[in-house]
């Protein structure tokens, strides 16, 4: 089923599951009150299917997890940050298309 491959992360899990992860992570900062965040939801799920095993596709609710967005100065959502080896490789803000996100993720491979 679509959607099962997207990981939902909390502030507490961020270090271990993203910074120390063996593979790159695309982290989608979102909130339920943000229409564009909901609009790109299906795209995020498709990306999780397509990049399964190669890149983790994760989401973090910024309402419930303020620390991580604070650390990365996220002040707009959706913001998508691509992490590799504990570093920020690239960052994109706003609802962008699947092609642009795929191209961004491919840079981490």
């Amino acid at each position: 089923m679509a959607g099962e491959k997207v990981i939902h992360l909390t502030d507490a899990e961020f270090g271990k599951k993203v910074l120390e992860a063996a593979i790159p992570t695309l982290l989608d900062f979102w909130a339920p009150w943000c229409g564009p965040c909901r609009a790109i939801g299906p795209v995020i799920e498709e990306l999780a299917e397509e990049f399964a095993g190669k890149v983790q596709i994760a989401k973090m609710n910024v309402d419930e997890n303020p620390a991580t967005p604070g650390k990365y100065a996220v002040r707009a959502i959706p913001t998508l940050i691509l992490f590799k080896n504990g570093q920020v490789l690239e960052q994109i803000t706003g609802a962008v298309g699947k092609a642009q996100l795929s191209a961004m993720i491919n840079k981490a491979l």
Binding site: P36, C37, R75
Partner: protein
């Protein structure tokens, strides 16, 4: 014997595209609605819709879209998540090229790709986008609790969203290049009565400054005086740019801003291709006329298909 995959392809999943979808499904056309996730309509970024008929207490932008989507689904509309990369419209059977590499064919097309927010085009804007520069008040307002922020613009969107932002920010300064607002009267009245909203008239933003995030705006009045305004966020709400990247505008016909020209039945100059909603060249961009145009476009498509078949 049908040489095309579809009778009608609708491109865009905002109010115009979804209304077209409802009408197309009820007309029993073999139709598909393509939406790319990213551009499901500017209405998604609207906090509260108070002027769409039938919702006496108003409705949130995304709930309205959810309901339109459910309504289209009830009549069996096929929808696909797909990004369109190009159109071939030289022949009566039109080709729609998708980002996946696939091509689908259709006799008629409705272009409802909408518009996206304009940028100011000033130094610092690009660098600080997502770090204090925002184009969506509903998305980003909650990041500015008890902070002083600015809104640029003077239309419905700017003034209504300034009002919304006062739920979070301690002070909202509306920077407007003219001496009066263009916003609807009732929206203006609410803003003028709100003690958290202040106005800077006849003033333009010349630059956005800050290191890790926005710290101040560089301003200039229309008579040449320069100044600055300390804010941690700036919401740029100054009209829209058409989502026309993949459209063959020279064939379809467009105005000087790149919005698609149509007649009163939503027909472009290419037979079988209609445009509806914010992508159209027009003066009024509201949800209600976007939806209405979606319906009109389908009826034009039905006429075209009847002549075709």
């Amino acid at each position: 014997m049908n040489p095309a995959d579809y009778q009608l392809v609708i491109i865009g999943g905002g109010p115009a595209g979804l209304t077209a979808g409802i009408y197309a499904a009820r007309a029993r056309l073999k139709a598909v609605l393509l939406e790319n996730g990213a551009v499901a309509g500017q209405v998604l970024t609207t906090d509260w819709v108070d002027n769409y008929p039938g919702f006496p207490d108003g409705i949130s932008g995304f709930e309205l879209i959810d309901r339109m989507t459910a309504q289209a689904a009830r009549f069996g509309l096929e929808t696909r998540q797909a990004q369109v990369t190009g159109l071939d419209i030289a022949l009566p059977i039109k080709k729609v090229h998708l980002e996946s590499g696939e091509t689908i064919t259709s006799r008629a097309l409705i272009i409802a790709t909408g518009a996206r927010p304009n940028q100011l085009g000033v130094p610092g804007e690009k660098e600080l986008t997502g770090k204090g520069v925002s184009y969506c008040a509903t998305c980003d307002g909650p990041f500015y609790r008890d902070q002083e922020i600015a809104v640029v613009g003077g239309g419905d969107t700017a003034v209504q969203e300034a009002e919304h932002l006062t739920k979070f920010a301690s002070r909202v300064t509306v920077v407007h290049r003219r001496a009066q607002l263009r916003a609807t009267q009732i929206i203006q009245e609410k803003a003028f009565a709100n003690p958290k909203i202040h106005f800077l008239w006849n003033t333009q933003v010349k630059g956005i400054e800050g290191t890790a995030g926005v710290q101040r705006l560089h301003l200039q009045t229309n008579d040449g005086q320069e100044g600055s305004l300390a804010v941690t966020g700036v919401f740029v709400l100054i009209g829209t740019t058409p989502n026309n990247d993949f459209l063959p505008l020279e064939q379809l016909g467009s105005d000087k801003h790149g919005f698609v020209l149509t007649d009163g039945e939503m027909r472009t100059k290419i037979p079988g291709i209609m445009a509806a909603g914010d992508i159209r060249s027009k003066n009024v961009r509201q949800i209600v006329n976007g939806a209405g145009e979606g319906a009109v476009a389908v009826l034009a498509a039905v006429d075209y298909l009847n002549d075709f078949e």
